[in-house]
Amino acid sequence: MSFLINQLLRFGCIVVGIIMMAGLPNLLPSDGSFTLNWSGYIASIKEVFQGLLNIQEITYSTGGATRALLPQLSGIVSYSLIILIGALLLALVTAGFFTFVTMLIQEKWRGKVKVFTFILESIPDLLIILICQLAIVWLYKQTGLLFFEVASLPGEPIYLLPMVCLSILPMIQYYKVMVSITEIELEKQYVDLAKSKGVYPTMILIYHVLRNALGSLLNYSKTVIWFMLSNLLILEYIFNINGIMSFLLEYLEPTVFALSLLAIFIPIFLFFALGQWLLERFTNEKVVM
């Protein structure tokens, strides 16, 4: 019960935070003065709040026409969420696979792999996404084969390439964390016990280490998702994807900002709450988020 109350409180805090953020541009000085505009801030927060209460009536104007936001938004959000979740899963699976392979190779190679991942991790997301796109175009020019669609056209959503691009950096981050968790875990005594009983190293990795690492992974996922959201912003811009981030960029105005952020935040929050609950329930591990 206290779990539920805690989660609700956290949820409330974040919703309030997002609404307060949405008013920020109106708080800042404008037209050459340097005083904070508190009355404008409060007015815009009120406006956002009222907008959220009557969600059905929120509109946005595009090219002179005024359209209702809500039906439009659900399609856009689900498109973005599919890419985000797909990329996250892809990153987790590939990182898990690579960690598994790394743990089975010799110790002296591991150091080199670590330096390599460190360098890869330092490359900005912009560069990785641009290089992916250029590589596809280059391959197409060389071979005449279009492996993926490079840009999205209206009515023809693309999924695969954005997912792959978006998953590269999180994959490296997950990989790094997984390797360090596994190394710490492998030094614990229960692993020695399992080895002495004759359990195969692969079995130890899959059954015991993985289970114990899940808590830290869930905790770390929060950072990764935050990072992916800003990658998504660039990705949608480059691939001309009609997702939530490009929508936000086009209509940077308080009510739309608040509503769009909430639309993407609520599913993520539910995912974390569910993950935390499942972990506490089944592995008896306390996850502090």
Partner: protein, 346 residues
């Protein structure tokens, strides 16, 4: 000084130092000269027109007006890196004030405070910065409301303050953990005032961490600047031409790198180097900053080990020190490094 013996730190430092030194040389010795080659001739015949691709004569190529990237990158380095350092410094100092307030006085309420700051873990900084800064930095039909330096000031302050909540929590949690150590209780019992304890007992433990946080913030600032440039919100303002007959592309005011990115984005598939050159320089700078960070981490991590194995630097210890002596702190900086992650959470 131990830092400079670390290979990682040295590589990163040398790269950054060369970049900034070249940049200042460019301004003071060559007076910001930017070479321009609009058409490339060979034996009196024109063979290529701007934008020229990278070649032996023009190492990084030119942009679409024929200006050499070598020179533009070199001039821009000091603005981009310099302002990133200023922003990171403001972030660190402000967060330190709030962090001390939180870690030393409000640590009991850490759970609720963390919840309130949690919202920053769901909103990307780039998006928030775009949302807040676009009205200031992008010229509208009436021109800018603020002068160039006013815009720079506003941008620096906003980019700095966007990271203050999370960084304060990070520093505050570190402080709170140090305050929970037993030796702090000891100092309190003996009668040390709060300020005395903070300065004499907590500071030596937090100082190496602060350097690490500073480097992390520096890297993050560079990333945000690159992103903003990508969305054509340039440092110090985006100059947009509203002339219907000659609609110039959005221009940056100086040669700072984010402006170079923003100007080149349109040519990505046709002349990729125009946007890739500045982005690669961003990448190299971020990489070298990360190298320095890694160097710092490994130096603070190995501090205890280095001191205890180095016989000459610790002459007071006999070959087999008594058990109590083994566990007395050897010097101020004997704390073990704790993993600092970006999620600022405990």
């Amino acid at each position: 000084m131990r830092l400079f013996k670390n290979t990682y730190f040295l590589i990163g430092f040398l790269f950054l130092f060369t970049l900034i030194a070249t940049s200042f040389l460019h301004t003071f010795v060559w007076d910001n000269h930017v070479a321009q080659t609009q058409v490339l001739y060979e034996k009196g015949r024109a063979i290529e027109a701007a934008p020229l691709s990278p070649s032996l004569d023009i190492p990084l190529g030119t942009n679409n007006l024929g200006f050499h990237f070598t020179h533009m990158i070199s001039i821009g380095a000091k603005y981009t890196i310099g302002f990133a350092i200023i922003i990171a410094t403001i972030r660190l100092l402000t967060s330190l004030v709030f962090g001390i307030l939180y870690g030393a006085y409000l640590y009991r309420f850490r759970r609720y405070i963390t919840w309130f700051v949690d919202v920053f873990n769901y909103v990307p900084v780039t998006l928030l910065a775009l949302f807040i800064l676009t009205p200031f930095l992008v010229e509208n039909f009436n021109g800018f409301a603020y002068t160039f330096w006013e815009r720079v000031g506003i941008e620096v302050v906003i980019l700095a303050f966007l990271a203050v909540p999370t960084t304060s929590i990070l520093i505050g949690n570190e402080l709170g953990r140090i305050y929970n150590h037993e030796f702090i209780d000891g100092a309190k019992v003996v009668g040390g005032s709060r300020l005395h304890i903070l300065w004499k007992h907590v500071r030596p433990h937090i100082q190496p961490q602060l350097w690490i946080i500073f480097m992390q913030q520096l890297v993050q600032t560079m990333l945000v600047l690159a992103h903003l440039g990508f969305f054509k919100v340039f440092f110090g303002g985006t100059n947009i031409s509203f002339d219907p007959n000659w609609p110039d592309p959005p221009q940056s005011m100086s040669y700072e790198w984010s402006g170079l990115i923003g100007n080149g984005v349109r040519y990505i598939t046709v002349y990729p180097w125009i946007v890739l050159v500045p982005i690669v320089f961003f990448a190299l700078t971020i990489l070298s900053m990360n190298f320095m960070l890694e160097g710092m981490k490994s130096v603070t991590e190995n501090w205890r080990v280095k001191f205890s194995t180095d016989e000459s630097s610790a002459p007071n210890y006999s070959k087999n020190p008594s058990p109590e002596k083994q566990f007395t702190p050897l010097k101020n900086h004997t704390n073990q490094r704790r993993e600092l992650r970006l999620n600022h959470k405990e």
